[in-house]
């Protein structure tokens, strides 16, 4: 078992729309160790979110390789990629992406159902961990944006993922709520030691990470 959890080699991504080709990432070489908390910083449009989606196997790279736990995922089948997302990866998005029709509890339970995990109290455990037990039956529309993000984090960590990917998780929050959320990430990292990749353009948020990787114009500048 390698200590390197995430590794990219000359990773490239070009979006194509008919004849129009828009290159976004160029030869990205990155290594993130197991249990490391890394922030990826950079200005808007530099390719941070694209990189996160490739690391989370939501997008395929146009070139280069990506390895997770030493396994080359560049040519993995859609089913294999889905299995990794299901079992080893957790996502937190800037816009929370909770299902509006389900309660907070059911949003988290749904993720466990997709993983076919038995309902053995994990949902209640993470709800308590993010301090949302008393809002379990509320629907996202009935929660504040800070509470919605806490539920989104609970959903992302309920299966204790090896990799937690967070795309601007505090981008929609005021500073007080942002601090709460970042504290939560810090606590999760201390307790469960997942590899955390935090995409942000906020220096304050990046300050919670152990290492900062700077991305500029689709290339790694520093890290």
């Amino acid at each position: 078992m390698t200590d390197i959890r995430i590794q990219t080699e000359n990773l490239c991504k070009t979006f194509r729309n008919g004849r129009l080709a828009t290159p976004v990432l160029f030869d990205v070489n990155l290594e993130i160790r197991a249990g490391e908390f890394v922030a990826i910083m950079g200005p808007s449009g530099c390719g941070k979110s694209t990189l996160m989606h490739i690391l989370g196997l939501m997008l395929s790279a146009s070139g280069g390789r990506i390895r997770l736990d030493g396994r080359d995922m560049s040519q993995a089948s859609p089913a294999e990629r889905a299995r990794w997302r299901r079992e080893r990866i957790g996502f937190v998005f800037q816009r929370f992406n909770l299902l509006a029709t389900l309660s907070a509890h059911d949003n988290i339970a749904l993720a466990e159902q997709i993983r076919r995990n038995p309902p053995d109290g994990q949902v209640d455990r993470v709800l308590a961990a993010v301090g949302m037990t008393d809002r379990a039956r509320y629907k996202p529309g009935q929660l504040s944006i800070g509470q919605q993000q806490r539920i989104a984090i609970a959903r992302a960590v309920v299966h204790r993922p090896a990799i937690l990917l967070a795309d601007e998780p505090t981008g929609n929050l005021d500073s007080a709520h942002a601090r709460l959320i970042l504290d939560l990430f810090g606590r999760i990292h201390r307790q469960d030691h997942p590899t955390i990749v935090l995409i942000t353009h906020s220096p304050e948020a990046a300050g919670y990470a152990e290492r900062i990787v700077e991305l500029k114009d689709g290339r790694i500048h520093h890290g």
Partner: protein, 396 residues
């Protein structure tokens, strides 16, 4: 996942209600059309098959569908009674039926002219619920006398009338009771008895009286019901039919085959009903397809979230199918309920119409609803899988 499908449907209450209603209407239309077409034919068939006889003898040109055509001479009855199988007399009883038509309860009705002594064989286990059995001789004699004397049947001042026995359903439809007056052409008629529903004719009259009312003085009939001696197998009955045809040069068929013959005569009608039902179903499932398709387009982000959580393509397709299935199952159940309500309405407003609902048809409608739901959700499911999840997650 089922909870998510349920939650999504409840979230769009009006759209869900309209979709369920569309399926329900299609299922109702299907069941009512089939039930009405087959119900009417089966009702007539069952009533004919209720006669305690196994063989129907008719002129070769007599149309069982319209109950009209050539006549038979009653002098053939002795010949029929002489028919033997394995040297044994095979015919126990021959019951002639002279058919007429009259208007009752707002509709044209076939009148079965039968001999009063044959009446028990026509009603079987059913009973007269009001009034009594008619007598033939007096009214027939009087009518024949008048016919001979005046050469016309138009003297309505005469106390002579044609006695009728009607079934309960016709009595209810026409508000008829014992003593109710009616007209047979220019002739007075009167209800003398009411029999339980399910007998071959909705209206019975004494055969000689009916002949006389039609100006027929000779002993003719349109049909002979033949009751076989003893219990004969189907093969023996078919052999008896052949013997009867040889002996009389008439057409002899099993009473049990009446329904099949009727359905053969009404093949075009049944085909039309099947076609209309099919069109109703296609429209219904197109509606479901559009509903699910619209809902998929509206929920790209939700599908992308499921993908980010690791849901497989199969699981996402299943999610789409589940929603369609819930719509179709709810629509089918509502449709079945509506079918019973519509049947009640039809049979209350038009008591002579029969809407038959069979358990096998209900199961078939359920299968059609579920199968259609699955089929009509496959394309939207395929569309759902083709959406770019990253794009859906990034934008509203």
């Amino acid at each position: 996942m089922l909870r998510l499908a349920w939650a999504n449907l409840l979230h769009h209450k009006i759209r869900t209600a309209l979709s369920v209603l569309a399926v329900a209407i299609a299922i109702t239309l299907l069941l009512i059309l089939v039930g009405l077409a087959h119900g009417t034919l089966n009702d007539v068939s069952r009533r004919m098959e209720s006669v305690e006889a196994q063989i129907l003898v008719r002129d070769a040109y007599f149309d069982l569908g319209s109950l009209s055509g050539g006549k038979l001479w009653e002098k053939e009855i002795p010949r029929l009674l002489e028919v033997k199988l394995d040297q044994q007399p095979a015919v126990e009883r021959v019951m002639p039926v002279f058919l007429g038509r009259m208007k009752l309860a707002g509709q044209s009705q076939n009148v079965f002219g039968i001999a009063p002594q044959d009446f028990p064989y026509f009603i079987g286990s059913r009973r007269l619920v009001d009034g009594g059995l008619f007598t033939d001789a007096d009214s027939a004699r009087e009518l024949l006398d008048r016919f001979e004397q005046a050469g016309t049947m138009g003297d309505t001042t005469s106390p002579a009338y044609m006695p009728l026995i009607v079934d309960q359903r016709l009595a209810a439809a026409g508000d008829l009771h014992v003593g109710s007056a009616a007209r047979y052409g220019d002739l007075d008629a009167r209800v003398v008895g009411i029999v339980q529903t399910g007998v071959a004719g909705r209206v019975f009259a004494p055969i000689n009286t009916l002949r006389a009312a039609n100006g027929v003085a000779v002993q003719t009939a349109h049909l002979f019901f033949v009751k076989a001696a003893g219990r004969l197998s189907t093969d023996q009955l078919l052999a008896l039919c052949e013997r009867i045809e040889q002996a009389t040069a008439r057409s002899a068929t099993l009473v049990a085959d009446y329904g099949r013959i009727m359905k053969g005569n009404f093949r075009t009608l049944i085909l039309f009903v099947d076609l209309v039902s099919l069109i109703a179903l296609v429209i219904c499932f197109l509606f479901i397809l559009v509903t699910i398709y619209t809902s998929v387009l509206e929920r790209c982000r939700e599908i992308a979230i499921l993908q980010s959580l690791g849901a497989t393509r199969r699981r996402i397709l299943l999610q789409t199918v589940q929603e369609a299935l819930l719509l179709c199952v709810a629509g089918t159940l509502l449709g079945i309920g509506l079918t019973f309500a519509v049947r009640y309405g039809i049979e209350t407003a038009r008591p002579l119409m029969t809407v038959e609902i069979r358990a096998s048809w209900l199961l078939g409608a359920t299968a059609v609803g579920i199968g259609g739901g699955i089929l009509s959700s496959l394309y939207p499911g395929y569309v759902a899988l083709r959406h770019d999840p990253v794009e859906a997650l990034s934008f509203e």
